[in-house]
Amino acid sequence: MSEVLQIKDLVTKFSTKKGMVPAVRGVNLSVERGKTLVIIGESGSGKSVTLRSILGLSPQGTEITGSIKFQGDELLVKNEKQIQKIRGNKIAMVFQNSLSAFDPLYRVGKQVEETIKAHRKISRKEAKSIVIDLFREVGIPSPEERRRVYPHEMSGGMRQRAVIAMALACNPDILLADEPTTALDVTIQAQILNLFKKIQKEHGMSIILVTHDIGVAIEMADQIAVMYAGKIVEYGEARQVLSEPSHPYTQALMASTPQKEMSGKIVTIPGQPPLITNMPEGCAFSDRCPYAESACTKASPELDLLTEQHRVACFMQDKMSKEA
């Protein structure tokens, strides 16, 4: 099979004053070679924690169970040294707080060069020319000069592009990108997304992309996973999920996107997601869900097939389709 990454029953628990609490509660997903999985979902639902779990970048005291297989190889049993070889090389990541990714004391170009040299045996000169090419590809104007600037001398969007360049520097097999184009305007965003697609075509790179921008999801996704309160509540082929969102949370999320020429108040989802220290027994969305019945508060629904390529974790699907 062409699955590059396969995650099974991932549970990530943090140690807090209230004991070990799970931020990710049983996630299953997989990504094929050359394909893109987009994760969308509520703020705090565990998207970033899932990505960091893959790279072994969780804080001390975190407990991770389940299985994360990269090219058939179990990552959760690897030690730090083994993981380091893979991280930044075969699996690259663009972090959500990428604006602080660079060391303020060193020139940006230098830092990208060092990353390349850490994983590949090449000369300074070669590294330098790779950096210039990469900077050009991510749309940093005058890359020869920009290499030399310090992080604070770059605008927010430029720094973000430099971080993306750094992630792509070693031709990773899989790119984990957490809101990579958040601070970019649409033209540059399009350029970056096109670049991702080009690299996918040329090198078969796989991508897990976290975004809250439905437009980006539409452009990029082969598969979509919708997360809520540490679980995937809807999962499947992108076109099906986006054109027929079936979980009440996905539906509400799609409805709260500000549209052109909108006035009045933006529709938001009333209420708040449950705290990870206080997860309900039943469906975590039930107290905000317009369709919820008592069954929803008693047990937590599992992902169920809706069609061959589309799964949803919701007890009320029959009721919803009747009402529709």
């Binding site: 959500q96 602080s100 033209t187 350029q191 006035s263």
Partner: protein
């Protein structure tokens, strides 16, 4: 409506050093920018990455000193004030930074992060705590988060702490630099609604920087479009969005992706032709002329005027009237595919 903030001819260049510290010229990040912000109004600032939006915001707060210009807060020039007087005004203008991680102290709990600036302004601890919690709740963070530390928060949760921190001082002006871009749409809506309410209830005025043109349209009464450090067009949101006159504004508005499932837009995605010129040596005259499909020899003229084409609608393009048809019909020729 009264003007609360008036900015006149503000400029800032950053010197650029080459190898061995030799000067290689200067980046003209903000050049001769003027605008006014009305009380309870929202001015949206848009423009490509690197056009000077964040620099402009920092100049207004004197986080960096401008080379020239005036920034009048209720007729007092912030740029000439010092000491206590300056601090009093600074308190009334709060900023939500583009990088929220830089403004949050990782060693303090969330509650203390938000309450801290109140204490330093002489509010009692108890009162400061209460206020901090009220605002944390208003941005959608549960009370039980108050005692957690920033590292244990998700990206969107931290962003909301930064917003609460700016709001808690109940400022008269908020400068929001990409303040909601990291939030999922439902939370984003909640925060935007909150801004709207505060405008009504507390006479808040907003300077709203964002690359999301839909959000800017929704939030703003007035919009200012920047290109390479300069204002190319400003006016009411309605004028800008339905009757843009500057070729750059039109190209920018055209680049919005459509939201149709199953259709990829990227290939056809219309980008403004050419590369953003280096801000090291910006083109003379109109800085957009090197990428403008309508540019003439005259556009290089340093003395190009800004034209008021409608009440309050200013355009820095002498060709603004040129065949309204060809410019406003979103012709393919305005922009080229990448």
């Amino acid at each position: 409506m009264n003007t609360i903030l008036e900015v006149k001819g503000v400029s800032k260049s950053f010197p650029v050093k080459g190898s061995f510290g030799k000067s290689k010229g200067a980046v003209s990040a903000v050049s001769d920018v003027s605008f006014s912000l009305k009380e309870r109004g929202t001015l949206g600032i848009v423009g490509e990455s690197g056009c000077g939006k964040s620099t402009l915001a920092r100049l207004l707060l004197r986080l960096i000193e401008p080379d020239e210009g005036e920034v009048l807060y209720r007729d007092q020039d912030i740029l000439t004030l010092k000491g206590r007087k300056l601090n009093q005004i600074k308190r009334k203008i709060q900023m939500v930074f583009q990088n929220p991680y830089s403004s949050i102290n990782p060693k303090m709990t969330i509650e203390n992060n938000v309450a801290f600036s109140l204490w330093t302004n002489g509010v009692s601890k108890k009162e400061a705590r209460k206020k901090a919690n009220d605002y944390l709740e208003a941005v959608g963070l549960p009370r039980s988060y108050a005692h957690r530390y920033p590292q244990s928060l998700s990206g969107g949760q931290r962003q909301r702490v930064a917003i609460a921190r700016a709001l808690v001082l109940e400022p008269e002006i908020i400068i929001a630099d990409e303040a909601v871009s990291a939030l999922d749409k439902s939370i984003q809506g909640q925060v935007l609604n909150l801004f709207q309410d505060l405008k009504k209830d507390f006479n808040l005025s907003l300077l709203f920087i964002s690359h999301d043109l839909n959000v800017v349209e929704y939030m703003s009464d007035e919009v200012m479009v920047m290109y390479l450090g300069k204002v190319v067009e400003k006016g009411s949101a309605q004028h800008i969005y339905s009757n843009a006159r500057h070729p750059y504004t039109k190209a920018l508005l055209n680049s919005e992706p459509s939201m149709k499932v199953g259709v990829s837009n990227l290939d056809k995605h219309q980008l403004i032709k050419g590369e953003l010129p280096s801000p090291l040596n910006p083109p003379s005259g109109c800085r957009f002329r090197t990428r403008c499909p309508h540019a003439t020899a005259q556009c290089g003229n340093a003395q190009l005027p800004t034209i008021e084409v409608n009440t309050g609608h200013h355009v820095a393009c002498h060709l603004w009237d040129m065949g309204t048809g060809s410019l406003s019909q979103n012709k393919q020729s305005d922009v080229l595919p990448i």
